[in-house]
């Protein structure tokens, strides 16, 4: 990773952490921002997909599929931006299913890692259990209106920390001549 890539990753991670904290402090106003972020996410993905098509996928056999998916993502961005009035319960259910699925997959993978003699099984098991707890939290706390925001903030915070860690990981390969 170049210094610029490291700086970019670390800065993005810090911005994510700050955003998560600010949204968690002001949850009442944050819901609209969550929707705005999701819409922005689709928009960026759509534009990135179109960029990918024009620089790479148009040379590929069947690459037009990428063009269509870029256009669909772009449309999703517009639709999501218009969904400010969706009841929060649906957002929570979405988050619960997502975390429950991720948690179960992670626990199964932890079991597989343990079987292979790998050291990472404890961390996987921990990740899996945290995901399951979050899923349960989403359902149990569904009546609390700010739960969706807190769950979303936790996700952003975690991703921010991971990005910062990634930025400072050793990326050069050391070898013997």
């Amino acid at each position: 990773m170049t210094k610029l890539q490291k700086l970019k990753n670390a800065s993005f991670g810090i911005i994510m952490i700050i955003t998560a904290i600010v949204m968690a402090i002001y949850p009442r106003d944050a819901y609209e921002y969550v929707i705005a972020f999701m819409a922005m996410g689709f928009l960026v993905s759509g534009v990135a997909k179109l960029g990918y098509y024009f620089t790479m996928a148009r040379y590929m056999v069947g690459g037009r599929l990428i063009l269509y998916s870029g256009v669909v993502l772009f449309d999703f961005a517009l639709i999501t931006g218009a969904l400010v009035d969706v009841p929060r319960i649906y957002v929570l259910l979405y988050l619960a299913v997502l975390h429950l699925f991720s948690g179960l997959v992670e626990i199964l993978r932890s079991n597989e890692a343990h079987g292979n003699g790998g050291k990472s099984w404890r961390l996987k098991l921990f990740h899996g259990l945290v995901d399951v707890v979050i899923a349960i939290g989403c359902i149990v706390l569904a009546r609390r209106t700010n739960t969706a925001v807190y769950m979303y903030c936790f996700g952003i915070f975690y991703s921010g920390v991971i990005r910062i860690i990634q930025a400072f990981r050793k990326t050069t390969f050391v070898y013997i001549r």
Partner: protein, 372 residues
Amino acid sequence: MQEDFHYYATYCAAYLAGYSHEESLDICYCAQFVDLCSATFLSKIKAPTKAATTQLQLEMMDTRTDIIGLQDITRIWASFHFLPKDLYATKEKRSKRYMSKYRLICGPNGDLLEKTVRLARGKSLQHAGIAMHVLADTWAHMYFAGTPSLVINNIDRSFYEILEKDGEEYARLIKFRHNPSAPDDIEKGLYTNSIFQINENSIMNLGHGRAGHFPDYSFARYKYMPAWGDYMEVLKDNPSDYEKAFTQMVYALRYLRGDVDSFEKDTYDTAVMDKYGDRIREIIKKRQLSASADWKSFGEELSGEIIEDFDLATYEDEYELIPDDSKNKSFIGKFIEGALQQKGMVTDEISKAGINHAGFVIPIELDLRKSG
């Protein structure tokens, strides 16, 4: 390629090149070990994980496909399983981003193959085994790249196996499924492949994952449109390619033994085929999921010795029990040294070609006592 070729056929090639039974066993053990030396295995025996020559499915699932993850993947798969044929290949009207993936497409007789074999000369038998794995895979994995890439490694539905009936050739559409626990069905033409993922860097788009194990079968003859091929069909003739792989291995091993002065591209030990051609072609063309038993029997006929089956645990204890300052004298220690040299050389060449998918390289003395 699979254990049948990397272990048993490599044994035969080494023996025919003039190595003793014991030396041939060491060479073929290491050729096969390349497919099993994962970071998980190395971590289990407290060896440096940076020497990994393969990744388990689980490890790949865990690897983030950000730039660091991609570099880890590419270093391993391009160095040992999908050696790029031409890092300076040209193609008109393509973006730099596209070309950085296109140039990693694997193929035989490239400059890097020459460097791989030459690098192994005067080194350990373990290093020779690694070089033979890399060489053999350049034939089986031709047209695929050792980096995740949808635009290079994807295949579409028009993937046909060429079969023969009553002396007439015909094409049968291959059906792919995504159940990793289901064995390939040669008779019905039913094979397991990776799931189509629209993400360029998805691990599903690594190497020949989209074509499943099919390219690894020596009997396979097939035609398809590679994603990078501008809608042109390519015909892959594995029996012919595997024959070349075998005879090139014999030639390369003769060079490594010192019987031949230089290693040149596109050169094969055809004398071997003059003597054993019928037997070797029969094994290669036989439609079966594994040709291990046939190669083993051929190898045992050649040397008159028993070829032990491959066992991953054979040298584990030796490595773990040997004192830290002597680790590099152990069997696995020598393998690690060879693996790091090969990985370093390929990574360096990719980096020098202006492609950043494998990362940068710093040459330094190896300290096997430090893991990680």
